[in-house]
Symmetry: C2
Subunit: 192 residues, 2 copies
Amino acid sequence: MSDALVRLIASFRKLPSVGLKTAMRYAYKIVEMSTPEVHEFIAAINEAKNTIHFCKECGNYTELDVCERCQTAEKHTICVVKDPRDISAFEKMGTYNGLYHALHGTLDFQKGITAEQIRVKELIQRLTNVSEVIVATNPDIGGELTAAYLAQLIKPLGIKVTRLAHGIPMGGEVEYADELTLSRALSDRKEM
Amino acid sequence: MSDALVRLIASFRKLPSVGLKTAMRYAYKIVEMSTPEVHEFIAAINEAKNTIHFCKECGNYTELDVCERCQTAEKHTICVVKDPRDISAFEKMGTYNGLYHALHGTLDFQKGITAEQIRVKELIQRLTNVSEVIVATNPDIGGELTAAYLAQLIKPLGIKVTRLAHGIPMGGEVEYADELTLSRALSDRKEM
């Protein structure tokens, strides 16, 4: 295999969850593309890298200094997520009108990730007119830990702190639910 | 979502089997990469596109005019495959020393792909010193059709035409074999 192909495959493997076989298919596709198509591809990478950065308020991706959402959102509620990509999931849902805040990580004692290394300080600074903080970190160890930490920090400020509900996913089957999900669904059961 | 991000996502979706969610993850990763990393990525794409083309003999990818394999291989056997990526699979196996020939497609009457549109003429021109043609197209409709067509064309030249064996994959289980594979495995059974 040619050196140029090996290098391109190595580059594609830096993308998330791309293994050798997938990287090879991508590299072959690049070679098969027309030259204008490849130029367009490169231009898109360059343009995105040069124009997109993090909103200095919420930490989401934006081409602006402060993103549109931070400028126009209803400012009494703030939804705290781990990564900007989690914001995309909320946006697709389309029924939430408040602010977002991407922490860019969650607490992890094993990896030595403390509150100083994620955007907690920036969150606290944004709470002036906020009456509810919705903690939407993932229901894993780091996410739960971060949620507990934030609740302890924010509740004394007289601000309501809530957590996304966990349970059987809509369309999911009880039979196939894992034990943790099922026990959570049971303990959080609602009266009909 | 910013226009630059939308365009980058659209570019990534041109890669094989990349849907919206995967393209978004790749685009986010590009934005998160350091500038030198992105430049390296772009350089690898450019280099591959500018230096790699098809070997004029076998149709595989190469940086040369005639690829190394065509220059050094044992020239009595030629293994015919659909795509250059199939050659990679053989190369990984490592026990075949003969020539390759990538057809760049298989016959497809529905899509109107005839022998003139794949590299059949180029194959026939290479058969001077060849004593066996191994047809290694996929065991699907197009692959079987192409194999039958090539056999009809090449056998009258006094050259042996063989086809890869089909059956239960090694490590596979009879229970989970599809009907076609099982019936092929049965009809091609070997005496022990």
